[in-house]
């Protein structure tokens, strides 16, 4: 159907620099998503005009800490709290941190169950 969906792979320490670059070029943050069990792939989606760009970041396990982008994009805190609750990904310095109580489920980390806390 549609438009080009560009995809750029980056490493965790390049994340704040790349996201600030997107912000100053006028892109808006559309969503933050993650998938997988064991090694986890995190995906940041941006959009400007109708063009769509994704930044993909792979971390080897949930113990690796990922820096938060909520200082640059204020609406990122909802997506980062959700990642923390459902997958167990540790994100540092979220602007409003619910500390695991965003979705109150009976099972901790329902989407990534074999990860140890």
């Amino acid at each position: 159907m549609m438009e080009e969906q560009k995809r750029i792979d980056i490493k965790p320490d390049e994340l704040p620099a790349k996201v600030s670059e997107m912000h100053s070029s006028g892109y808006r943050l559309v969503q933050i998503d993650c998938s997988g069990t064991g090694a986890i792939e995190i995906n940041y989606s941006f959009d400007k005009g109708y063009s769509f760009v994704n930044l993909k970041l792979t971390i080897p396990s949930v113990d690796t800490e990922v820096p938060s982008v909520s200082a640059i994009y204020r609406n990122a805190f909802l997506y980062e709290n959700e990642m923390n609750d459902l997958f167990g990904v540790k994100v540092k310095n979220i602007s409003i941190d619910y500390k695991g109580n965003f979705y109150r489920t009976t099972v901790k980390r329902p989407f990534n169950p074999e990860a140890q806390s």
Binding site: M1, D33, N43, Y73, L78, T105, P110
Partner: protein
Amino acid sequence: MTKRTIIPFGPQHPVLPEPIHLDLVLEDETVVEAIPSIGFIHRGLEKLVEKKDFLDFVYVAERICGICSFIHGMTYCIAIEEIMKIKIPERAEYLRVVWSELSRMHSHLLWLGLMADSLGFESLFMHSWRMREKILDIIEDTTGGRVIFGSAKIGGVRKDIDDATLKAIVKNLKSYRKELKEITDVFIKDPSVMHRLVGVGTLKKEDAYELGVVGPVLRASGWQSDTRKLGYAAYKNINFEPVTEKAGDSYARCSVRIKELFQSIDIIDQAVSKIPAGPIEIKVTGTPDGEFFARTEQPRGEVIYHAKAYGTRFLQRLRVRTPTFANIPGLLKMLPGSNLADVPVLVLTIDPCISCTER
């Protein structure tokens, strides 16, 4: 230093259609800060995709939300069709457009009724929902269900509408337009309604873009952005322009939705005049392998389905980002500085569909 009190705007409230919780920090009846808390209807539907065959999951996707149900099913089908590189017949694309626009009309009329109810204007609420019944009758005649259509399918649509019925629908909607104008004029011109909506909850243009709000909330602050312009499902052959307003307050959001109602009737007219004859579905074989982001325009904004598949009959990951999830930061920016009595009106202007937000 004035004393601060915290009031819970609870999950149970007469004005809310679905439960959401806000903790409001007040100084003498003026809201200073608001902290949201969601998760009351979390059903874990994204986990279910690992257990259900990808062809059967359309039924679950349609039932994520009751108001915008057809567009959820259609977006799931578009995501899988793009991964498997299937091209569906033209007639199916036009039928999808007709049903999407009917969905949009019934959702906006539902919202208009709830808005009138939150202001206390109950008889206008009843009249809006009476107008909505006529749209639901058209939908029941063509698909069989009033809210859950059951007509999206990977490879096309499940049911056909014959040409005579399509022409009858267009004729019905022409006479419907006059009655609709009478009701929507009350929202736009009545002084008591205007007094409650004008100047309340203003969201400035730069803030709206930065916070990532979508849909009518973004268009009411002056940005011309409508995901239907991407051209999925026969929208590439239809001429229309996104409706915008400049003021960014609740009155602007109300009037954007009213103009979109009339624009939907025009779009259905154009689609019915251009629809070709032909088959409505195509046979699907094989399993999906790949990844795609499907973006479509729901009545509340832009919805994104991220589907990832590795060649088996079950998808590996399906992620649904719904428009209300993106509009919550906008709500948190609108609330500080407003009165406690305006909070229900402001929560309703973003059109909260909480069962979509926490699938």
